[in-house]
C-alpha cells in the first residue's frame, strides 16, 4: 500500500507546527592554512581532541593537533573547496559511522556513504569510530573455532573466534586470497547460530582490485553477510587512516548483540603510511622510518578491540585478520614487528613457496597461532590428525635437503620424505574453494596414517576429490557422525579407516 499525498502533507504540516527555532551557538575558528588534506584553524579554543569540525560546503574534518593558538585538523572529504578565511565550527561530537543490518551486502566508504550505486543506507544506529577496547573483566578466553576452510590453517594454525591472526608476506603471495577464502567459508554457517558476519576493509588499494574482490564475494554468495569498507588509493589520507576503525565499529555493533564477526584489514601497512603522511604534514616529530612515535598505538588500539566477550556481555566475538605487506621478506622491519607483537599469531606467506606451486604459500614451520588447540574441533586436534601432520612436515623439512641432493637414503628416511611430499601436496588448495572441516579431518587422517603412501604425489589432490565424492554417496553415516560428534571416537575412526580402505581398493590412483 502506498502512502497518500494528503498523508505526506499532514506529516509535513505537523512537523512545521511543532518546529521550535533555536539560536545556533557554536565555537568557531578561521582557516589560515589548507592543503594536502589538512587544515590549520585559528581559534576554536574549546575544540577537543578528535572532535568533528564542520567546514563550509558540507565538508567535515577531525581535530588532530591542539596547539596554543591554532588547531590542526584533517579533512575527511575533498578539501579543494576550502579556502583561507573560511569559518569552521565545532560540532561537539566525535566521529561516528552508521551501523546495522542495513550495511550487510553493501560497499561503503569509511564514513558510511554507499559506493555501490545502491540506495542510501537507512539506519538510525550510529557508533563511534574510535573507542576504548573492552576490559579484561568483559572478556572470556578464545575457545570457539573460526573455520577458514584452508587446510593448512585449520589443521596447524587454527584461528579462534575473538583472536587476532596476522597474515603477512610479500606482494602477490596470496594474502588477500586467504582472507577471502575465510569469508567465503562462512557461507555454510549463515542463518545458523554459528553465523559469522564478515567485514572486509580495503585500505589504499586500487579500485579495480576492490571491484574484483566484491565480484568474487558476490559470485560465491558471500556478499549476503559481508560489508565492504573501502578507502582506495585515490581517497584522502584521513579516510585511509580511519577506515579500519570504521570497519571495526560496524563489527562491534553486531558483537554487542552476541553475534560473531570477522574483520579483515587489508592492509595495515597502507594505513600506517597514511597516518605517517598526516602526522608529517601536521609537523608531528618523525621517528623511525619517519613514522610518528605513536604508530604502535595506531595498530594496538585497533586490534585490541578484537575479542571474545563474556557470556554476561552476550558472548559475541570479533575476530581480526590484519594483513601486512613486507618488502623482500623483511619481517623484522618496523611496522611488521609492531603488528607481530600485538597479534595472537601470524600466517607467513613466502614467494618461494608460491612460485614452486605450493598455494596457499604458507610456511607452516614459522607460522603460529598462539591460541592453538583451544580453537580446534576435537577431531582435528587428535594426535592422529593435525598433531601427526605437524610432526611429518617437520621431519620432511629437515630431510628435504637430502631429497634435493639425490643421495641414497635408508628406507626410514625415504618413507619420511615420501610421506612429507604427499602431505605438502595435500595441503595445497585451489583459490576460493574452502573445504569443510569434516572433509579436512578425513583427508588429513588418511595422509597422516600413511593411507596415501601408494598414491603418486601428483595424484594426491585428485585422490582427495574422488574420495570426498565417494564419502558423500557411500559413507553418509560416517559424515553425519563426524559432523555431530566432531570427535574421532574409536567407532568413527574404525568407520573412517574402513571407508578409506574400501575406496583405495577400487581406486585406479592407488598402486596395487
Amino acid at each position: 500500500m502506498k502512502i497518500k499525498v494528503d498523508e505526506i502533507t499532514s506529516v509535513i504540516e505537523q512537523e512545521i507546527a511543532g518546529f521550535q527555532n533555536r539560536m545556533d551557538v557554536a565555537q568557531v575558528g578561521r582557516v589560515i592554512e589548507v592543503g594536502d588534506g589538512i587544515a590549520r584553524i585559528y581559534g576554536l579554543r574549546g575544540a577537543m581532541a578528535g572532535e568533528m569540525l564542520e567546514f563550509p560546503n558540507g565538508v567535515f574534518g577531525q581535530v588532530f593537533n591542539l596547539e596554543e593558538e591554532t588547531v590542526g585538523a584533517v579533512i575527511m572529504n575533498h578539501y579543494l573547496s576550502i579556502k583561507e578565511g573560511d569559518l569552521v565550527k565545532c560540532t561537539g561530537e566525535l566521529l561516528s559511522v552508521p551501523v546495522g543490518d542495513a550495511l550487510l551486502g553493501r560497499v561503503v566508504d569509511p564514513l558510511g556513504q554507499p559506493l555501490d550505486g545502491g540506495p542510501a543506507i537507512q539506519t538510525t544506529d550510529r557508533r563511534k569510530v574510535d573507542v576504548i577496547a573492552p576490559g579484561i573483566a568483559d572478556r572470556q578466553p578464545v575457545k570457539q573455532p573460526l573455520q577458514t576452510g584452508v587446510k593448512a590453517i585449520d589443521a596447524m594454525i587454527p584461528i579462534g573466534r575473538g583472536q587476532r591472526e596476522l597474515i603477512i608476506g610479500d606482494r602477490k603471495t596470496g594474502k588477500t586470497a586467504i582472507a577471502l577464502d575465510a569469508i567465503i567459508n562462512q557461507k555454510k554457517y549463515w542463518g545458523t547460530p554459528d553465523a559469522v558476519i564478515c567485514i572486509y576493509v580495503a585500505i589504499g588499494q586500487k579500485e579495480s582490485t576492490v571491484a574484483g574482490v566484491v565480484d568474487t564475494l558476490r559470485q560465491n554468495g558471500a556478499m549476503d553477510y559481508t560489508i565492504v569498507v573501502t578507502a582506495s588509493a585515490s581517497d584522502p589520507a584521513p579516510l585511509q587512516y580511519i577506515a579500519p576503525y570504521a570497519g571495526c565499529a560496524m563489527g562491534e555493533h553486531f558483537m554487542a548483540q552476541g553475534k560473531h564477526v570477522l574483520c579483515v584489514y587489508d592492509d595495515l601497512t597502507k594505513q600506517a603510511q597514511a597516518y605517517r603522511q598526516l602526522s608529517l604534514l601536521l609537523r608531528r616529530p618523525p621517528g623511525r622510518e619517519a613514522y610518528p612515535g605513536d604508530v604502535f598505538y595506531l595498530h594496538s588500539r585497533l586490534l585490541e578491540r578484537a575479542c571474545k566477550l563474556s557470556d554476561e556481555n552476550g558472548g559475541g566475538s570479533l575476530t581480526a585478520l590484519p594483513v601486512i605487506e613486507t618488502q623482500e621478506g623483511e619481517v623484522s622491519a618496523y611496522i611488521p614487528t609492531n603488528v607481530i607483537s600485538i597479534t595472537d599469531g601470524q600466517i607467513y606467506l613466502e614467494p618461494d613457496l608460491f612460485f614452486s606451486g605450493i598455494r596457499p604459500a604458507i610456511n607452516v614451520g614459522i607460522s603460529v597461532s598462539r591460541v592453538g588447540g583451544s580453537a580446534q574441533v576435537k577431531a582435528m586436534k587428535n594426535k592422529k590428525v593435525a598433531a601427526s601432520l605437524r610432526l611429518d612436515l617437520a621431519s620432511y623439512r629437515e630431510l628435504e635437503a637430502f631429497a634435493q641432493l639425490g643421495t641414497d637414503v635408508d628406507a626410514g628416511t625415504r618413507r619420511k620424505l615420501d610421506r612429507g611430499a604427499r602431505m605438502v601436496k595435500l595441503l595445497t588448495q585451489l583459490q576460493y574453494e574452502p573445504m569443510d572441516t569434516i572433509d579436512q579431518i578425513m583427508v588429513i587422517y588418511a595422509g597422516a596414517q600413511g593411507m596415501l603412501d601408494k598414491v603418486p604425489v601428483a595424484d594426491v589432490l585428485t585422490w582427495e576429490k574422488q574420495f570426498l565424492e565417494f564419502t558423500r554417496t557411500s559413507a553418509v553415516k560416517l559424515r553425519e557422525d563426524l559432523n555431530t560428534k566432531k570427535d574421532l571416537t574409536p567407532e568413527i575412526e574404525a568407520a573412517l579407516v574402513e571407508a578409506i580402505s574400501r575406496f583405495n581398493a577400487t581406486s585406479a590412483l592407488v598402486a596395487k
Partner: protein, 197 residues
C-alpha cells in the same frame, strides 16, 4: 582581512610581549594602543611594506631605513626600538605577525573582546549601542564592535564574540527547518510505509 601564518604570529608574539613588558615598566601602554592602530593602518594601506619586509634582496638596514622614515614621530620610541631589534635579528619579515600579536595581547590586557555583528540590513547606532551594552554586561569586558551587512542572512543577527558564534538569523532557522523536514519527516513516512506493508 589577510590571515597571517602561524610562524609569523609565533615569532611576532615574542617581540610583542617584549614591547608590552617594556611599556608596562615605563607606563606607556596607552601609547602602544595607538601605535597598533597606526601600524595596522600602514600595513593595510601599504601592502608593499609587508612585501618589502619579507624581501630577501633588500638588506635589513635598507628595510629599517624605510620604516624609520615612515614611522618616526608617529609611533612611540619603544616601538621603534623593538622594530630595530627585529631588523638586527632579521625578523622584520614577521612584521605582520608582530602587529597582530601586539593587538591581541593589548586587547587581552585591556579586557577588550572582538565582536563581529552581521545582519541583513545596516543597524542604526542605537541598536549597536544596545548590543554592545548587553555584551559588556554579560561578559564583563569591553566589546570592540565591527558590523557587516550580509543580505543573504534575510533577517535576524549573527554575532561572533571571540571564538563563539551565535546565529539567530532567518537563514539559519530556515536551514534548521529544512534539515528537520528532510530527516524527521523522511523517517516518519518510512515508518508509516513499513507499518502499512
Amino acid at each position: 582581512m589577510a590571515y597571517i601564518t602561524v610562524q609569523s604570529e609565533t615569532v611576532g608574539r615574542v617581540y610583542a610581549q617584549s614591547l608590552i613588558n617594556l611599556a608596562t615598566r615605563q607606563d606607556a601602554l596607552g601609547a602602544l594602543a595607538v601605535d597598533v592602530q597606526t601600524l595596522q593602518a600602514v600595513l593595510s594601506q601599504s601592502p608593499q611594506l609587508q612585501t618589502l619586509a619579507q624581501s630577501a634582496s633588500v638588506s635589513p638596514e635598507q628595510k629599517f631605513a624605510v620604516l624609520e622614515k615612515a614611522l618616526t614621530g608617529h609611533v612611540h620610541p619603544l616601538t621603534m626600538f623593538v622594530l630595530r631589534s627585529m631588523t638586527k635579528r632579521d625578523r622584520l619579515a614577521y612584521l605582520d605577525g608582530f602587529v597582530f600579536a601586539l593587538d591581541k595581547l593589548l586587547k587581552k590586557l585591556g579586557g577588550i573582546i572582538d565582536v563581529i555583528i552581521e545582519s541583513a540590513i545596516a543597524l542604526d547606532e542605537s541598536v549597536q549601542e544596545r548590543i554592545v551594552a548587553g555584551i559588556a554586561k554579560a561578559t564583563g569586558k569591553v566589546p570592540a564592535l565591527k558590523c557587516h551587512v550580509v543580505p543573504d542572512l534575510l533577517g535576524g543577527l549573527r554575532i561572533q564574540i571571540d571564538d563563539v558564534l551565535m546565529d539567530a538569523t532567518v537563514a539559519s532557522h530556515l536551514a534548521q527547518l529544512r534539515k528537520m523536514l528532510v530527516n524527521e519527516v523522511d523517517q516518519k513516512l518510512r515508518a508509516r510505509s513499513a507499518a502499512l506493508v
